[in-house]
């Protein structure tokens, strides 16, 4: 094609660029604002109390069960559990995932899974569902280590799993691999297909990790908290659509020592991120967005000590719940707290209070049939769980008065 005139050539270049720019404008115009799923606000409301202060004053969480999720036979180490609640039509009520092997970062570490039977309330025999060799074979390149599973149930009821898969190096060389549950068969009821490595960084896509639970959105998608940790540590929020397709990546904090953001929805577009501090501060840090994750801003610190350890958050029945290690050093205590506004927290119960040197860490939470489940790492050897039921004030008073 010959364009002898300079004006014609200019017109051709500007024309094509204009079409592409218009397309981008159209794309942005049809972008759906992110709104937190309304069920997050009411999920697990087990009393008739209205949300907020009244709900908190109108009852309390009572521990009604505790134990350990069974470990795969002969596997000595476990860490970083994640929980996902299944639809009420499913025979299993809850799935737990964690990484297990000889030790953290051992070559034989795999992702283990156990399902909570809805009728019997018992955990299934655990099975290893994801190993690095299978992931590597599906992706077509090597994977050194696996860790930190995060589970999500999409708008179509499909379970997705996001795991950290390391390249050349330790956790700082991690990448986030997206896996999807494939059609169940008798031989392999929980088989997983590697969908993609999430493209998050130009530097060989290294050093992005996940750990904390996603925030469900009303469009069936979710916001997946992630973090970068090569030298500087900073959190990001990944927006995924209802099918698990990556939509957007937004930095959550500009401070260079925060990681593992746990998200809480104060409203549809007003969200908080509670973050572990990898610096010397020893506090839980806070960032906030008021526009559904378009722009995040640092929002100071929470008056809660934390020894550079992962926290878990959940909204249930108008209350915001937090599980965290409440000391500046040591992970031997694990506590649950509640809040109405996400900034002022009241202690509810100590889940664990062991002697110094013990470790109870990396909590996860889920609501199942109106009850609150908390799982956490116990001594890096197994995954412990506790179950709580909401006891309304009137019921508590009457049970105290009965003979």
């Amino acid at each position: 094609m010959h364009f002898p005139s300079r004006w014609l050539r200019t017109g051709v270049v500007l024309g094509i660029a204009g079409v592409l720019c218009l397309a981008d404008t159209a794309r942005r115009a049809q972008r759906v604002p992110a709104r937190a799923h309304p069920e997050v606000q009411i999920q697990g409301m087990v009393s008739d109390q209205p949300p907020g202060e009244a709900a908190m004053a109108g009852g309390h969480w009572e521990r009604v069960g505790q134990g350990h999720i069974p470990m795969p036979q002969g596997v000595p180490a476990a860490h970083a559990s994640a929980l996902v609640t299944l639809p009420t039509t499913h025979p299993s009520a809850l799935l737990a995932f964690w990484f297990a092997g000889d030790r953290e970062s051992a070559p034989n570490v795999q992702i283990a899974m156990s399902a909570l039977d809805r009728k019997s309330g018992t955990w299934s025999v655990p099975r290893m569902v994801v190993d690095r060799w299978d992931v590597a074979a599906q992706l077509g390149f090597g994977v050194r280590r696996l860790g930190n599973p995060v589970a999500w149930l999409d708008g179509q009821g499909q379970v997705h799993l996001f795991v950290v898969a390391t390249g050349l190096g330790g956790w700082a060389a991690g990448r986030v691999v997206h896996l999807q549950h494939t059609a169940a068969s008798t031989e392999a009821p929980w088989a997983w297909k590697a969908v993609a490595v999430l493209p998050l960084s130009w530097l060989w896509n290294t050093s992005y990790l996940v750990r904390t639970a996603p925030l469900p959105l009303s469009d069936g998608g979710m916001v997946l908290p992630a973090y970068f940790e090569l030298g500087r540590k900073y959190p990001v929020a990944l927006r995924l659509d209802a099918q698990g397709g990556l939509w957007d990546v937004a930095p959550v904090s500009s401070r260079g020592h925060l990681l593992q953001p746990a998200l809480l929805a104060m409203g549809e577009r007003d969200w908080l991120a509670l973050m572990r501090d990898g610096g010397p501060g020893g506090r839980i840090r806070l960032a906030r967005t008021r526009d559904g994750g378009e722009q995040w801003a640092d929002a100071g610190d929470l008056p809660l000590d934390n020894p550079d350890a992962s926290v878990a958050t959940l909204t249930a029945g108008g209350q915001h719940l937090l599980v965290y290690n409440p000391q500046k050093s040591g992970r031997n205590r694990l506590r649950m707290a509640s809040s109405v506004d996400g900034t002022r927290w009241s202690d509810l119960v100590d889940l664990e209070n062991g002697p110094p040197g013990r470790e109870y860490s990396y909590p996860a939470m889920a609501m199942v049939d109106g009850q609150l489940w908390v799982s956490y790492t116990d001594q890096r050897q197994s995954i412990a769980w506790q179950r709580f039921a909401w006891v309304p004030q009137a019921l508590a008073a009457s049970s105290k008065g009965s003979p």
Binding site: L20, D24, R144, N205, F228
Partner: protein
């Protein structure tokens, strides 16, 4: 017609979410990419050897490396290179292919091709490869700063946007307005091929920066510019 049935180029300009490449092709792309890059590197490195025997066998060694990289699974080089460095950029692949083609046809690696039939004033500037190398280097530094969150804007994430693609298109083809012969200078065809292939396939990640520049190519640009600088000074 459902959106899912649209051709890639139509979805690229319409999709609400960034379009990512088909995962099924990526292992093949990774093998082919590393095969091309390794073959070009081996071929170029062995040209510097003094002995005729090595220079004569450079082609065979390059071919052997390419075949090794192309082997799927843990026995293949690309499996381990992918572990550390994922997939080379499309630009690295195209430049490697261009270099290998020129070696095969025994033509000199083009520095500045003068276009027959054009007046001297219309001839492209002799510095186009350097200029594009400088631009690539600046882009690489910005992406590196963005990786460590030292930039206020999310530059890498912006690489998923069609707007970034449009601007790059203007940068790639804009000089053609001033000098039609530009399209025949060394980096221009490669740049246009990369943008065209990316537009159709979204290789390798769906992000246009990953198609244009990878960290090893970024390092290579520094070496290239340093070498040109030394040559310019007559060292």
């Amino acid at each position: 017609m459902n959106v899912a049935d649209w051709p890639d180029w139509m979805r690229m300009v319409q999709a609400a979410a960034p379009l990512l490449p088909q995962p099924s092709f990526l292992p093949l792309l990774r093998q082919a990419g590393w095969a091309l890059v390794l073959a070009a590197l081996v071929s170029a490195a062995l040209q510097g050897f003094g002995t005729h025997w090595i220079r004569d066998k450079a082609g065979l060694l390059a071919l052997a490396c390419a075949l090794w990289a192309g082997v799927p699974g843990p026995w293949g080089l690309s499996y381990w290179l992918g572990l550390a460095f994922q997939t080379p950029s499309l630009m690295a692949m195209v430049l490697s292919l261009q270099y290998l083609w020129q070696r095969l046809t025994q033509r000199k690696w083009p520095q500045n091709v003068q276009t027959p039939g054009l007046a001297a004033t219309q001839q492209p500037s002799p510095c186009w490869p350097c200029r594009y190398a400088v631009l690539g280097m600046v882009l690489g530094w910005l992406l590196l700063l963005d990786t460590f969150a030292y930039l206020a804007l999310a530059l890498y994430a912006w690489g998923f946007s069609p707007l970034a693609y449009a601007l790059l298109f203007v940068l790639a083809i804009g000089p053609w307005v001033m000098a039609p012969g530009y399209l025949q200078t060394a980096p221009a065809p490669a740049l246009l091929v990369v943008l065209a292939v990316f537009g159709l396939t979204r290789w390798p990640t769906g992000n246009v920066w990953d198609a244009l520049l990878d960290p090893w190519l970024f390092v290579g640009l520094h070496i290239y510019l340093f070498a040109r600088y030394r040559a310019h000074r007559g060292d």
